[in-house]
């Protein structure tokens, strides 16, 4: 007799996510936009693509150079304040891009610190940051610390025995680099490089604010402009289709090359590196540290200047925007956590209970795909879907938490999945012998172990979503204002003082949430 069994919620979620992406894709591909053809937008598309690739390549190379130099200098040196630097490196993970845009304006802008400093020495002025300089500065500012952080984690994994052997063999600094540092860098580099390239390729806020011209657009910005300004849905469909195809295939490549980034703490290995005393390396490291400090510190500090302007922005606008941001962030975090939980438990079931590691690997891969899904391309697709069957004006309220939530799934997944696996390995057999399954298994066996990592994932998802300036650019306006949108408006009006205060509020909330997340995830160990 055939019995109808409900599929695992994770399976449903996986199909729903695939459905959203594929549905958006199909909506785009089948959209009959009338006039524009791929041929007619060809030259424009070529320019946008060329710009996207060049700026992403340059951003990646510069971020890697500075980040790796910084990591090596930090791992070889100890100096007062090193602990603070290490802690600060992790914070750029949740540094909102729109705040980085503000920092670039504040330091390198027309009336920024640099021009004021140069004017003081009699420089006539006239630095322009629009185009490559501003975009590269912002991208390197956000990504170099991330590179340094991941590389440091990798370098700290070198076993103490290897350092003792290097000492015992009398390795020169060059041999230490070749046999100890380089093997680590070589395994980490392709993944980090690919990830940063992808992030810069689909960069939105930074390129929108600092691009300074229609030819200096990424595909995401081009889609935004076509949607918001030109209302040219035919062009939107083409651009989004190409963007989706490029980003998804890059993720496939990346997944193939990338081992999962380590979620470790940065602990210093207890063994002294034998090359720490080398004079040339000391000089080199000092130079690298000085460059990093001169580049990163002003940008980071510029946000703090907002403190004195906070009284000026306190008002109904700010409160309204704050609450809107909070509600959207919380809704996005709920979506991210539920999806991550469903996917992770499906992956676990496949791996440990049904013993099909291939399907489990697919569930593990799905969240990473979401990291690559370009929000504007996906939004464009969903927007076209909704437009056919419903009311586009309310689309923003559904799409904002949904898109932000989807983008945060990979982060929530990384918190939840390992714990689910561990608990199954420990208690799975007991649970099976007791007949615990489904909801009972979740509440009795999983929940005690899961609540902290889930809360940590929730807080991080909120932090990421709270500061996000993505598709809000599309739906924001008089009726819907989030804090990042408010910041963008103030920047657009060249009201840097108010912008600095809004930026500070965003950063404080995002960092506070990320900090809570960090505390929750480490408290259990």
């Amino acid at each position: 007799m055939l019995t109808l069994r409900l599929p695992h919620p994770g399976t449903l979620v996986a199909f729903a996510i695939l459905g959203l992406v594929v549905g958006g894709f199909i909506a785009l591909a089948t959209f009959d936009g009338g006039t524009p053809t791929l041929f007619s937008i060809g030259p424009y598309l070529g320019r946008v693509l060329a710009f996207s690739i060049i700026q992403a390549t340059l951003s990646t190379v510069l971020s890697l150079a500075l980040g790796i130099g910084l990591a090596l200098a930090l791992v070889r040196r100890s100096f007062p304040g090193r602990g603070i630097v290490l802690a600060a490196l992790s914070t750029t993970m949740v540094m909102p891009t729109i705040v980085a845009v503000f920092a670039v304006f504040a330091v390198y802008g027309r009336s920024g610190w640099l021009s004021e400093g140069l004017a003081f020495f009699g420089w006539p002025g006239g630095i322009t940051i629009f185009g490559y300089p501003g975009i590269l500065i912002a991208h390197v500012f956000l990504n170099a610390p991330f590179v340094a952080r991941i590389t440091l984690d990798g370098l700290n994994q070198i076993p103490a025995e290897h350092w003792r052997l290097a000492t015992a063999f009398g390795f020169t600094p060059a041999q230490i680099f070749r046999h100890l540092d380089w093997p680590v860098l070589r395994t980490e580099l392709p993944g980090i490089a690919g990830l940063i390239f992808l992030m810069c390729f689909k960069s939105f806020a930074i390129v929108l604010a600092l691009g300074g011209g229609p030819s200096r657009s990424t595909l995401e910005v081009a889609i935004y402009e076509a949607l918001k300004i030109d209302l040219d849905f035919g062009r939107v469909a083409w651009l989004a289709l190409i963007q989706l195809a490029i980003c998804l295939s890059m993720t496939g490549l990346l997944h193939w090359a990338f081992t999962r980034p380590p979620v470790g703490h940065t602990v210093r290995s207890l063994v002294r590196r034998p090359d720490a005393g080398n004079r040339r390396l000391k000089a080199l490291d000092s130079i690298v540290l000085a460059i990093a400090a001169l580049f990163i510190a002003p940008l980071a500090l510029s946000v703090l200047t907002g403190l004195r302007n906070i009284p000026d922005i306190l008002g109904a606008d700010l409160l309204q925007a704050f609450f809107t941001s909070m509600i959207i962030a919380a809704a996005a975090a709920v979506i991210a956590c539920l999806l991550a939980l469903a996917l992770a438990s499906a992956a676990r079931r496949k791996r440990l209970v049904l013993r099909s590691p291939r399907i489990a690997a697919f569930y593990d891969f799905l969240p990473d795909t979401l990291l690559a899904v370009p929000p504007f391309a996906l939004t464009a697709g969903l927007f076209l879907l909704i437009q056919r069957s419903g009311d586009p004006s309310s689309a923003g309220l559904i799409l904002l938490p949904l898109i932000n939530g989807l983008a945060a799934v990979p982060f929530a997944y990384r918190f939840v999945a390992p714990h689910l696996l561990t608990v199954e390995e420990r208690y799975g057999r007991v649970a099976a012998s007791l007949g615990l399954a489904g909801w009972a298994k979740l509440t009795i066996m999983d929940w005690p172990v899961l609540k902290r990592p889930l809360a940590a994932g929730f807080a991080l998802a909120m932090a990421l979503s709270f500061g996000d300036f993505g598709i809000i650019a599309l739906f924001g306006g008089t009726e819907l204002v989030t804090l990042p949108y408010l910041l963008y408006e103030r920047l657009g009006a060249y009201r840097l003082d108010e912008a600095s205060a809004v930026g500070l509020v965003i950063v404080l909330v995002a960092f506070l949430l990320a900090h809570i997340s960090g505390r929750l995830s480490h408290a259990g160990h």
């Binding site: 103490a160 025995e161 003792r164 015992a168 063999f169 009398g170 046999h179």
Partner: protein, 233 residues
């Protein structure tokens, strides 16, 4: 002859004071509870830890002022002895010359030594493609080709199963008969080494509590403490 006299080391939570001598060409098994200071003793001889006072000499040469690389010492750890990106020949070659610019004669020596430890034909393998026992044999080969007269083995075979462990200890014994080397080996299970070691030292609370013939030590008043140390770890 290795002579350690009143070598004192102190940390906030641990203090050690070692005195021990081992005759040239002897194999000395170091036993004792974990956390008792066995590894610290070896690390001090190798130069990774510096005593605040005391003397440490080998064949009359004072080792204390020498950097680890300059000491007549080769060391094998319990784990992580090999660099995963280098093949077996290169890993062994590091013991001769860290630049890995090896002469034909040195390559021959490596090949012969690998054959002697039962790894002939493994020259181009990477550590990741070998078993734990094979990896430790590569590390042993490296200690042997380095030509250094004092070899320190820090729990070298503890992660191997009992049969393999005994085979490896027999291999160490066989090797030292071919070439005169002095060996200090920390070990978990004293009975494994009892029949090959010339000397046994019981280390606990940072001190060499007793040292002498293996049979003597194992049948002394320390027997209950030794048994406790083995069963507790």
């Amino acid at each position: 002859m290795l002579v350690i006299e009143n070598c004192r080391l102190t940390w906030p939570d641990f203090a050690a004071d070692y005195s021990l001598s081992v005759k040239a060409g002897n194999l000395c098994a170091v036993i004792g509870p974990s956390g008792g200071g066995k590894t610290t003793l070896l690390h001090m001889i190798a130069g990774f830890e510096t005593p605040q006072s005391g003397t440490l000499t080998f064949d009359g040469q004072n080792l204390l002022p020498l950097a680890p690389a300059k000491r007549p010492v080769a060391i094998v750890f319990q784990d992580h002895n090999l660099f995963p990106h280098l093949n077996v020949t290169q890993n062994v070659g590091l013991g001769i010359r860290p630049s890995l610019r090896l002469t034909e004669g040195e390559k021959m020596l490596i090949e012969e030594t690998l054959q002697a430890v039962g790894l002939g034909g493994f020259e181009n393998r990477k550590p990741g493609e070998m078993s734990g026992g094979q990896r430790q044999r590569v590390a042993l080969a490296r200690a042997l080709v380095s030509g250094r007269p004092l070899i320190l083995l820090d729990e070298p075979f503890s992660s191997l199963d009992p049969t393999l462990r005994r085979d490896m200890i027999l291999l160490v014994d066989e090797m030292r008969r071919k070439r005169p080397v002095t060996i200090l080996m920390t070990i978990h299970t004293p009975e494994d080494a009892a029949h090959v070691a010339d000397q046994m030292a019981f280390v606990a609370d940072g001190k060499v509590v007793a040292s002498g013939q293996p049979a003597e030590i194992l049948n002394s008043a320390l027997a209950p403490r030794i048994a406790a140390a083995v069963s507790n770890s």
